[in-house]
């Protein structure tokens, strides 16, 4: 056994030295998971211990993530100093630790973790946002009796999500991915006493599993083709050049429409990502998932888990982009783009007509995830991930704000029963407004503007079609409109609810303030003048250069998007702010265009569509099976029984009339025979054993006899 040496193989670029932070990177996900395990053992009243454990472990994880992040930032400087960078001119600093998990015959199943700019930034984002939401949850879940369980699940989720981020193996990623899905299920159904919550949890689990099955198929295909599931393994990983060349070079699996094996695997993996990230047509679970507690919606269904799909696509981007056609894009990426752009507009449309404060945000999340997917498809990793990061902050902020509003309004979620809250909840209002402006892409001072602009710019250059660009611009307009509508309903006008609202405690507002600061400031790292983020991901030097704004087409694009945003804001302001209707009255737009409004309010009937197609089919199939059971098989049995019945009746007739005398004799014989036979079934173990032993004797004799013959 090779236990002493070679238990863990260290693979890094450079001179083979593994810095401690990379070696101990596994601690980042492990700590919250261990904390979750410990919390699971705690008793229900141990609230302080539970929250302290969860938050403490995440603080350490955040600290380690920051160390890893600084390590990644500082490494290029050190490397250029030692001139190693020339040896690796291709690029990105990437340190991995891989080890063999199980050996099946000749094949190894390896696991491992990776530290590169992508995982480093995600680690910081997940642990930081997670930490803030954990702190917020102390206040939000204060009155819940299952506080301990909540922190157990949340901690488990944080660990699993961090595991997804650092995974260097598709298998490890898949494991953590499923763990994340499980915690999502558990947390959506956290208030399982509510039937809606239980149903929503099941729906989320089943819907995402549809995607995951395809993901698993893709994974198996990839393994069968490349023999490894590691992403990066010193040139031998499954998405490194060697394996990709192998995947492309197989004419046998070159599919129609320019789709290569790599692209097909990528699309299968994308199906998993679409399930998790709520892309059309698998988006139906995400709005229902809002039945969970608001911090859950914020952390899992806005900031991190749903972004995991985007992250996954970014991780396997080389696979998707392999064998690019002339235009620099591939079929797989085109599909991703179209799905993303369609989802962006589709969800934004539905969001316009919703009245539940969290549902609006949920559709907004779907829409923004569509933006990210489209950004990945058209502009590459940096564009999509930048929007992911900024979105994580401002959408988490919005959800926390919504939670604060719900908390302040004593559990009310219908925006028609709110209003005028800007006076009652000033801090919530300010932070919510910041988040909302960032989401709309309000120019210059908000991060959303820069990240969304990046996507729009990429769309405007896209070689395949212009339509996605127009769709996305329309989406921007809708986003600005529905967010203004929501803010108008909630914060402006007059109070339309019951008990008066109150501002939330500091433990809830403080995380919101911090997130608000980031929602504004984060844009600074991705402006065209100083594209630090892109440079960081692609490991290039970055300089401050105002000429970045002057690239052809860019000023016009920025101005155009600004105009669109203002148009949306203005429309919303005009229609909703100050004059929102009473809860009983129809919406302003509903009065104007009742029919399309009804479609939108009913979510464009996707659920109903599934109801009459997929679910109906299964119900029909179940009925068919039931009918077969009852009629066909049951009928056959009945028929046989009937035939035998007839036969016995005939027998009785014969017996009674013809062979009565001899029959009695026969009966006695039969009874005797039965008694004889029943001796063999007397329930005595020893009898059985005896027969068994006789059988052995006979078998051995037969064996010997046959070998002699």
């Amino acid at each position: 056994m090779m236990m002493q040496e070679g238990f863990v193989t260290f693979q890094t670029l450079g001179n083979g030295y593994v810095s401690p932070i990379v070696f101990y990177l596994w601690l980042i996900p492990a700590l919250p998971i261990i904390a979750a395990g410990v919390i699971a053992l705690l008793k229900q009243p141990k609230r302080k211990t539970a929250s302290a454990l969860a938050i403490g472990s995440l603080v350490i994880s955040l600290f380690l993530s920051l160390v890893a992040f600084i390590h990644v930032i500082s490494e290029p400087i050190m490397r250029s100093a030692t001139a190693i960078i020339h040896a690796n001119a291709t690029g990105v600093l990437r340190e991995t630790v891989n080890f063999t998990w199980i050996q099946v015959g000749a094949a190894n199943v390896d696991l491992g973790w990776v530290l590169d700019p992508l995982s480093a930034i995600m680690l910081v984002m997940v642990s930081f946002v997670g930490l803030l939401i954990f702190i917020y949850s102390i206040g939000y879940m204060k009155h819940d009796e299952n506080f301990t369980r909540f922190f157990c699940f949340m901690s488990l989720f944080a660990g699993a999500m961090l595991g997804v981020v650092i995974a260097n193996s598709l298998l490890l990623l898949f494991m953590c991915w499923e763990l994340v899905g499980l915690t999502s299920y558990l947390l959506i159904g956290f208030w399982y006493q509510k039937p809606e919550a239980a149903a929503a949890a099941k729906k989320a689990f089943i819907t995402t599993k549809i995607g995951d099955v395809l993901f698993l198929l893709g994974m198996v295909w990839l393994f069968s083709q490349t023999g490894t599931l590691l992403f990066y393994n010193h040139g031998a990983g499954s998405i490194e050049a060697g394996a990709l060349a192998g995947l492309l070079a197989q004419p046998a699996v070159r599919l129609g429409g320019g789709l290569t094996a790599a692209g097909a695997i990528g699309l299968l993996i994308f199906a998993g990502a679409a399930g998790k990230s709520g892309q059309f047509p698998l988006h139906v679970w995400l709005p229902d998932a809002m039945e969970g507690p608001t911090p859950v919606s914020s952390l899992i269904h806005a900031a991190t888990m749903v972004a995991a799909g985007v992250y996954l696509i970014a991780r396997v981007y080389p696979l998707m982009a392999a064998g690019a056609l002339a235009g620099g894009t591939t079929t797989a990426l085109t599909v991703v783009t179209w799905v993303g752009a369609f989802t962006a507009v589709f969800a934004a449309l539905i969001a316009v007509a919703q009245n539940d404060i969290k549902r609006i945000l949920a559709y907004s999340t779907i829409s923004q995830l569509g933006y990210m997917m489209a950004g990945l498809g058209m502009g590459g990793v940096a564009v999509g991930i930048f929007h992911l990061i900024t979105h994580a902050f401002f959408k988490a902020l919005l959800f926390l704000g919504a939670g604060s509003v719900i908390h302040g309004c004593h559990g009310e979620q219908d925006i028609r029963r709110m209003g005028g809250l800007k006076a009652d909840m000033p801090l919530t209002f300010v932070t919510y407004a910041i988040g909302m402006l960032a989401l709309c892409g309000f120019p210059l001072f908000f991060s959303g503007f820069w990240s969304k602009d990046g996507i729009l710019e990429a769309a405007s250059h896209w070689s395949v079609a212009r339509t996605p660009f127009y769709m996305l611009v329309f989406g921007v307009l809708l986003t600005a409109f529905y967010m203004t509508r929501q803010v108008g309903y909630v914060f402006f006008g007059y109070w339309r609810g019951g008990k008066t609202a109150h501002e939330s405690p500091a433990v809830m507002t403080l995380p919101m303030v911090i997130l608000a600061l980031f929602a504004m400031g984060l844009g600074a790292i991705g402006t065209p003048a100083w594209p630090w983020f892109r440079a960081f991901l692609e490991n290039r030097a970055v300089v401050f250069n105002l000429h970045g704004f002057a690239e052809p087409g860019l000023p016009a694009l920025m101005i155009a998007s600004t105009i669109v945003v203002f148009l949306g804001l203005g429309l919303g302001w005009r229609l909703y702010c100050g004059q929102a209707p009473k809860p009983e009255e129809p919406d302003v737009l509903e009065r104007a265009v009742p029919v399309p409004w009804g479609w939108l309010r009913d979510k464009l009937y996707v659920d109903e569509l599934y109801g009459v197609t997929v679910i109906a089919f299964y119900k029909w199939w179940a009925r068919v099976a039931d009918w077969l059971d009852r009629r066909v098989w049951g009928g056959a049995v009945a028929a046989v029984a009937w035939v035998f019945g007839l036969w016995s009746r005939l027998n009785r007739f014969l017996d009674n009339n013809v062979v009565d005398g001899s029959f009695d004799k026969g009966c006695e014989e039969l009874a005797a025979g039965g008694g004889l036979l029943s001796r063999a079934q007397n329930g005595r173990v020893q009898t059985y054993l005896r027969i068994l032993a006789l059988g052995v004797v006979v078998l051995v004799l037969m064996l010997i006899w046959s070998s002699r013959a």
């Binding site: 329930g683 005595r684 173990v685 020893q686 054993l689 032993a693």
Partner: protein, 103 residues
């Protein structure tokens, strides 16, 4: 008589003794004792064939015997647990009186 034959004969004797015990005794525990003897005889066969077989370095027979010992331990634990439970239920360990499936 080669050594292997000797071991096989002893194993056969033990097996038959165990079988006789299992077939003739009334007490359920003694039936279990007989079965243990049979298992042990099989183990002796395994080890003997391993020792005199063509590939003793492959350890196959030895491993088989070790696993068989482990499984026999599990079998004894469960079997005796059942006997104790039956005794609680029927107040007897006499197999001749344990012929009803109805409690």
């Amino acid at each position: 008589m080669t050594p292997l034959t000797g071991y096989l004969i002893v194993a056969a004797m033990l097996f038959s003794i165990g079988l006789a015990g299992a077939l003739t005794r009334r007490n359920a525990i003694l039936v279990l004792i007989g079965i243990e003897l049979m298992l042990n005889a099989a183990n002796l066969n395994l080890i003997a064939f391993w020792r005199y077989g063509p590939h003793p370095e492959a350890l196959t027979g030895m491993m088989f015997a070790i696993f068989s010992i482990a499984v026999a331990a599990a079998e004894a634990a469960v079997g005796l647990g059942l006997v104790i439970q039956i005794h609680r239920h029927a107040h007897t360990t006499d197999l001749d009186r344990m012929n009803r499936m109805k409690g």
